[in-house]
């Protein structure tokens, strides 16, 4: 049985290697290391679902090992053999019952949090709005209240809800900052909301998660959370030192290609609305009437003039799990 020993050793070695690699650098598991309320809710759900799954998986695996070992076909195996035993009402009820109960519990938490995350995060505080546009292959961020814009770089104040309004001027992408919360699609012609908040200062990794072609692998960006005072200082310095983003400048930026971080001290005020409209946003206005049906939240804070239109867009998607548009 030398072969078996060797095999066991190989398996052991592989397991050990796996374990060290998986455990090395826990802080790398950014999804499991949330820094904002949305990501925390999602993290809790992840943990609940892992536990509930393990409750089923571990006993079943144990049973499998036991059954296969006990009933293997070996001369002299004394375990019972009942070739005619094919049915048992009681057992069947038990194992229809177990998954039903587990799924019911998990379903309860899922539905509860799906609705909870569709509500405003922090309705009392006025959020900071950032308009996000995914381009081929870079991210444009506009701060309508501050009047500045950036590429592949976001700075936000800690503890303040941030209302991202996302669209795309390129194929559909997905806007994702794992430590602050899950992603949402950016779609041409539509403006959708995603409300996130950073609990503590820090640098967070963000990226485009939905494939958009050649330069897609270069669509990561950095999110820096700072105190409100530092954030204001940063806004001032961008205003004073950076160039302005012009319409032509935007056209240049929107051309396929990858880009480094950029900063702009101003941008054409209607730019975001124009991006949405030019990609078909106007067709959504006609749906306004229909969309009002979904109104279960109010849109107060999103009403700044640059996105009169965008409101419909966000409005029609408001039920989406993640983004509370307000």
């Amino acid at each position: 049985m030398k072969k078996q020993k060797l095999l066991r050793r190989v398996v052991f070695f592989i397991m050990a290697a796996l374990a060290t690699m998986l455990l090395a650098g826990c802080e790398n598991y950014i999804v499991l290391n949330p820094k904002g309320p949305v990501a925390e809710t999602q993290y809790r759900l992840i943990i609940i679902s892992i536990i509930l799954c393990l409750v089923v998986v571990i006993p079943v695996l144990a049973m499998l090992v036991y059954v296969v070992w006990r009933y293997r076909d070996k001369p002299g195996n004394k375990a019972p053999y009942t070739p005619e035993w094919v049915d048992s009402k009681t057992l069947e009820i038990v194992w229809w019952g177990i998954p039903i109960v587990i799924i019911a519990i998990l379903g309860f938490f899922t539905v509860r949090d799906t609705f909870a995350l569709a509500k405003p995060q922090d309705p009392e505080t006025k959020p900071l709005t950032i308009q996000v546009t995914s381009l081929d292959w870079k991210w444009l961020f506009q701060y309508p209240e501050q009047g500045i814009a950036t590429v592949n770089y976001i700075e936000i104040p800690t503890g303040v809800p941030v209302q991202f309004v996302v669209t795309s001027d390129a194929p559909m992408n997905s806007f994702w900052i794992p430590q602050l919360g899950g992603q949402t699609y950016t779609m041409p012609g539509m403006a959708m909301g995603l409300s996130l908040k950073a609990n503590e200062p820090g640098e967070y990794f963000g990226s485009g998660a939905n494939f958009t072609g050649e330069g897609f692998a270069h669509m990561q960006f950095k999110v820096v959370a700072k105190s409100q005072a530092e954030f204001d200082k940063w806004v001032q310095s961008v205003k004073q030192t950076a160039p302005a983003l012009t319409k032509d400048g935007y056209k240049e930026l929107a051309k396929p290609g990858i880009s480094d971080k950029q900063f702009y001290s101003s941008f054409p005020p209607e730019l975001f609305k124009e991006i949405v409209d030019k990609n078909g946003g106007q067709y959504y206005k006609q749906h306004e009437h229909h969309m009002k049906m979904n109104q279960n939240t109010n849109h107060g804070d999103m009403n700044h003039d640059a996105n009169q239109h965008m409101e419909h867009g966000a409005n029609q998607h408001e039920m989406s799990g993640m983004k509370a548009d307000k």
Binding site: V111, K278, S320
Partner: protein, 671 residues
Amino acid sequence: MLENIKNFASQFFVTGDPLIYGADVSIVLTTLAIVFVLTYFKKWGWLWREWLTTVDHKKIGIMYIIASLLMLFRGGVDALLMRIQLAFPNMPFLHSEHYNEIFTTHGTIMILFMAMPFMFGLFNIVVPLQIGARDVAYPFLNAVSFWLFFLGAMLFNISFVIGGSADAGWLSYPPLSENQFSPGPGQNFYIWGIQISGIGSLATGINFIVTILKMRAPGMKLMDMPLFTWSVMASCIMIIFAFPVLTVTLALLFIDRFAGAHFFTIDGGGNPMMYINLIWIWGHPEVYIVVLPAFGIFSEIVSTFSRKPIFGYTSMVFAMMIISVLGYFTWVHHFFTMGAGANVNAFFAVTTMAIAIPTGVKVFNWLFTMFRGRIRMEQPMLWTIAFIPCFLIGGATGVMLAVAPADYQYHNSYFLIAHFHQVLIGGVVFAYVAGLIYWWPKMFGFKLNDRLGKWAFWFWNIGFYVCFMPQYALGFMGMTRRLYTYGNWDLGWAPLNLLSTIGAFLMGIGFIFQAWQIIYSIKHGERDVTGDPWDGRTLEWSIPSPAPHYNFAVIPHAAGKDVWWRMKEEMKQGKAKQEKPKLEPIHMPKNSGIPFVMAVFWFIAGFGFTFAPTDITFGETKLTFVWISMAVIGLLGVGLCMLARSFQYDTDYYIPVDEVKRTEASLGRVV
């Protein structure tokens, strides 16, 4: 002139990549070798009579399986190329465009041109034998299905050297897959390759439903059918509802690309979200289409190798039927993040989780089939036992993904990649391999070598976990799918990617062992002289191996479950009636070349349509006219083939009793 030809060739062929030139050379050499061998051994006639024109379900099944193994090889090589690139993200091995083409073709080939035909191959070989029939309900249509699949797959595959491959992902979401972002023929190859083979799949779905409903041996009630046959039924029901959706969706996409319509571009008033919904209304049922037969295969194997009937038969059937219905109500879980809203997401989250219930029940029933049985660790059973933990974990991560708000964190990440490979490899591939080994003796009359098979088994299994477990971790590290590099942003992803690549290569070695196992066994495999090498339970084991082309000399009377097992019991107790069955002439369908010719015409039409929307020029002239004529000729040919078939009256014949007697005697059976 020469200049024009050169210019045309540079637009028509894929150029500039040494890997592609290598492939060109090997394709040409292989083709030459095949032509040479066929000519040298004077096998052209044999090829035409025995294979290209056959309507025998067993031969069609074998051709399906050969094709799918070739596709598994191609898809596997693609996978290894990607894994090499990801292990060394800074190495300029695959540049972005090439990587994108490869994951698109890998995904499409693995699902549509590997899993589907492998599955159809097993349907073809097993179902008629299991229900005691002499062929499928529509043998001619069956051949049509196969050739449509095959030429569709070829059309998709040649994009690799001609015109360039699709590179917008295996489901080709617009607007990325629209002309604006993906000009050129690649995307059209994708559309037409899938369209042509999709018609074949739909026909197969209809064919097998009718076969199962109408052609069972006398006495076999629906609730007596072997579970594999039941799973085929469930799968085919899903096919006939799902595939038309795919056909329509891709047709609309093609109209967008060809005629500049705006079904799926929002700037013309269309809607890409519509495409995403439609494609998943096909796409989600599709994964159940391939996994239900896998459940069927495991049910047969567990029962045979535990020497016990399947536990809870009724509940197994019920579970499969629930899955086939529920499978239609989960598609939105592929895009929770599109923002359909809390009501919609909550609904689809719950339906998705609900599918875990019948699936879990099946696992318990398999366990209790083994419980108090006698488990023989033969190869098929090994794969089955490996499947259970693998699918259990894959299913559990599936439930995790179904938690809609949590999915906002898993979506499009390596967590998702790990999940679906775990269910597709651990569920589908393991099952089809197990099924292939199990039914191999029935197909070819000998068993596959055990020792090599076990090596393959261990390499696949260990390789699988080494490859995909780290990917769950990568998902938690925020690594998104479809990245050809992450060199400039490494967040500790590199070591795990390297490990994953090692695992992929272990599986590659497993595949080599399987190829070797087949070649070795052709020469040295243990002959199956009894026709019942595994001590089986269902009708296919009652006839000689390989099955004679009329399958059953006498159609058995098949009342009750596990018919063959009970016949054997009765024989042992000497209770079986010894009276000689009365032989009658056997009514069989005639071979026909029309299916093959028709599929070739489809190929021509597909090729024309593929290039019609492109700007390829010869000198100054655009070639649109040429491509359109090609498409028209192809479609006319298809029409003519149908016409020819409608006027063919001489489509069947009788095998005389004498010949049946002779055949049976040569197979060692007394009749």
